[in-house]
Amino acid sequence: VAIAVVAALTAVMLGACASQPEGAVGTTGDTSREARVPGDVRRQIALARDRVFPALVHIDVVTVDNFGGRKVKQRASGSGTIIDAEGHVLTNAHVIDKATTIWCTLSDKRRIPGTLVGDDPFTDLAVVKIDAAALAKLGPEAVATFGNSDKLHVGDYVIAMGSPFSLSRTVTLGVVSNMERVFTRGLGDGEVDEITLDAGGEQRTGLFTNWIQHDALINPGNSGGPLVNLGGEVIGVNTRGGASMGFATPSNLVRQVADSLIKQGGVARSWAGVTFRHIQDTGIEEGVLIDSVDTEGPGAKAGLRPGDVVLSLDGTPTTVRFVDQIPPLLKRIADYPVGTTVEVTYRRNGATATCELVTERLPKERGDEAALRAWGLTVKEITERVAKALKLTDTRGVLVGSVRPGSAATAAEPSIEAGDIIRSIDGEKTPALKELVAFYERTLAMENPPPPENVLIEFDREGKNYLTLVKSKPDKPPDRPREVAKAWIGIETQPLVPRMVEKMGPPMEPGFRVTRVYTGTTAQAAGLEVGDVIVSLNGEKLRPRGIQDSGLFARLVRNLAIDSTVELTVLRKGERVPLEVTLERYRLTNEDAQRDRNTDFELTVRELTFFDREDNRWAEEVAGVMVEDVERAGWAGLGGVAPGDLIQRIDGIAVRSLEDYRRVMSEISAKKPKRVVFVVLRRTRTYFRFVEPEWGALVEKSGAGAAAGEKDGEKKGGERDGEGSAGATPNKGDNR
């Protein structure tokens, strides 16, 4: 009998668990290696390691999530195992959740792309495909074999393998603590805790799983990695963990799901539309109690009611005395082919009766999503589960998932908020996500006539029905207004205050000491030197009082006319030297430079300024655009472009100005090449940066495609692009 597991633990996924100090397994005070692990076991561990290590895969993903009213890319990593010679890699669904790019690092350190074959959020499993030819180079030993998890016993040694914290492969040893673990809510109240794949709580997982609980050390990044017995067989997939405990999905369940994912791209499951409660402490002697019945589900259609006690299904008893017997019952129902007629024998009010229940397909729980950038919205499909959570009467309409602050949606009066249900746009009903996205795309694609300035959106909020006008906004703002041009002199100064002058002694006078002379300026041409002390400007003595007058000299200059000539008196080596300097127009500062943010590459550049050239000691003929900001998981960032780089060429085309850059990037966005080569100047040397955008993931409408055509459990490799998928894992941008 499984004891209750504290609720806090149940919510912890591998990605969220803290690293544990290195500890002994089964020690009794003697911490010698021999005492901890007997020699024969160590030899078995080594053999198991050698059998599985070649099949171990480190998985890196780039994900695209929808929140804050827009798409957000992030990086994450996990582990996986090659399970056949065709190149199928088994991992957790949460490792590749919303991934647009999957990279698999093999045991020989080669990093090759992977494509998603299918995922099954209900068991948190997924299969990724890598190139079989690449796999062939590793030899036949690079395919792991499954063991029979039913033969595993409490107390058996198990080995967790993976690449936690994105490190190279690791092995940790533990023993099986429990073979029937079910996460329960609270301490001993017997309620099955509902665990979800995503932070939003929309997608349940682990419904059919009695977890293998073990104490082999696992950390973020172990997710999806194998749990191995001493025979070198995979007997589980490490999926959750925390507080020195690991929880693996048993291999027998894994094999069934993986087979279905490989053959069908998903798992079709039957659903009865009822929830069960175990009968311990209920006074019921046999069967399983129906806790609730979905009003329009198969159970309701068959006439079942809450409080009925199901005694058998197709004549097979269904007694569920304890909570850990619920997952097998759910799995038994799920394993019926969808549409099967099941004979249900149940007891109601002391009388036994029978009904025929026709199973239906287990419905998807997490809806598809899309980002409507021009309006600053992310929107979600309303599934049955979402409708129930929001207390909606049906699934019609589109849920607003998030709103970008300051976007068209928030500027609307009344503004649109997360949680609103969009009912129609410009009079067109939007009963589902696909209709809304279709309208959005159609509107944005309009050229003649141009798109309407505003769209009239009808939405529901808290039982009230509103209308609002939303004005589409361009992706890119106009250039920022520049500062008013003022006169400038190409030097930096510091005030030479009276106490300093006193210390330096005669003939020093208060003034402004030149601390830098910029090259190629009129100040340099006029002969100003570092160390000169400017004591008068146009005959007026300069008397800085203290540090508060640091900017006085420059300010006096700014108040004069551009191109005018000023007379300076400088003290140089004790001599008063008159100098004439023509004032220049101020040089564009880095702050005032115009910027361009490219949302495809997630790259912000700005004009190259005089001060950039000065700081980097670049000659005047050096040209390009300065990289100011790069999103960590954006395509440019992934390709190695970094802040401070000067982009000089893109795909062989010289970039000498921001206008050049905008033109080239616009052409690239239109052509959508597989690879874009940036030549950047970083300090004193150039670098080639090969950026491989995944254009499909950047197209807004991809969410609509998923929304329109994808059914739960029917994803095929290469179809999924992350835009249309929904939900979030709690450990974003990190090891999973």
Partner: protein, 280 residues
């Protein structure tokens, strides 16, 4: 550290959309006026009330932790200074964050509109340039109407002296139908560095970028917050220093000079960009 904190505080103020930048004695009442003086208020409102316009804009934040960025719609009050639709307003309140370093976001004003009198929609406009040092920005209506706009003529200004009575003109927010309001104070000090500035009594409650008049209804200056020069940002000056965000009054003659410089630059769009200007 002090500077960084102050800069972040400034940014926070901008980001939070402080729409009413009042005197250091914010909320202080102008005091009861003798009945004989009440007509002065009406006179200023009648004469210049329509010159005070609402400037609506969207500030787009990028970088500085904003990533792709956020946007915030904001509204400030500006003063029409030209019959053809040039509005002066506060640079700070229209997204001009002075002397920002790498930790500050880029703020771009977009969707600028000028609302005159009881106009609810606003006229599309452009923020053409700014002078962060003086906390001034200039907005120009894209398609000005044929009828000249009521405006405050900065070329017809007077200077102020210590102790002189001052009248500040402002507008309430849209909730109060942008009702024009007057506050009254006096010149309690005159600073000569970093530039000449009148320091008003705390009773003078106004918003940045708005005009201040003398008792005769002649403009004497524009309310600004003194921003330190880039060179003295670490010297405890102005906005980031011990005087904080104390509003000051920039003499109208200085505001006029700045305006002429700004409009002159605007009139020469073909001029080479500063970065491209060849060294002399």
């Amino acid at each position: 550290m002090k500077v960084t904190t102050a800069r972040m505080a400034l940014f926070a103020a901008v980001a939070a959309g402080a729409t009413a930048w009042s005197g250091t004695g914010a909320g202080a009442a102008p005091g009861v006026q003798p009945a004989t003086e009440t007509g002065e208020y009406q006179q200023i409102i009648d004469r210049y009330g329509e010159a005070l316009v609402a400037v609506k804009l969207v500030l787009k934040f990028e970088g500085g932790g904003f990533g792709e960025g956020g946007e915030r719609e904001t509204e400030t009050v500006g003063v029409m200074i030209d019959p053809k639709g040039v509005v002066m307003c506060s640079s700070l309140k229209t997204g001009g964050v002075p002397n920002r370093g790498g930790d500050m976001p880029t703020i771009t004003p977009t969707d600028v509109k000028v609302l005159i009198a009881d106009d609810a929609e606003g006229k599309p406009a452009k923020l053409i340039t700014r002078d962060s040092e003086l906390d001034l920005a200039w907005v120009k209506i894209d398609e000005p109407g044929e009828k000249p706009y009521v405006h405050v003529d900065l070329s017809k200004s007077e200077s102020a002296v210590l102790g002189q009575r001052l009248f500040a003109l402002d507008r309430m927010g849209k909730f109060f139908d942008r009702a024009p309001v007057i506050s009254e104070g006096r010149v309690r000090g005159v600073a000569h560095r970093p530039r000449e500035l009148y320091i008003p009594t705390e009773a003078l409650v106004s918003d940045l970028g708005l005009p201040v008049f003398n008792a005769e209804g002649v403009v004497v200056g524009i309310v600004i917050v003194q921003v330190p020069d880039p060179e003295s940002i670490g010297a405890g000056g102005g906005l980031f220093g011990e005087d904080g965000a104390r509003p000051m009054i920039l003499p109208a003659a200085e505001a006029l000079k700045a305006t002429q410089r700004a409009l002159e630059a605007e009139a020469k769009p073909k001029e080479p960009k500063p970065a491209e200007a060849p060294p002399k």
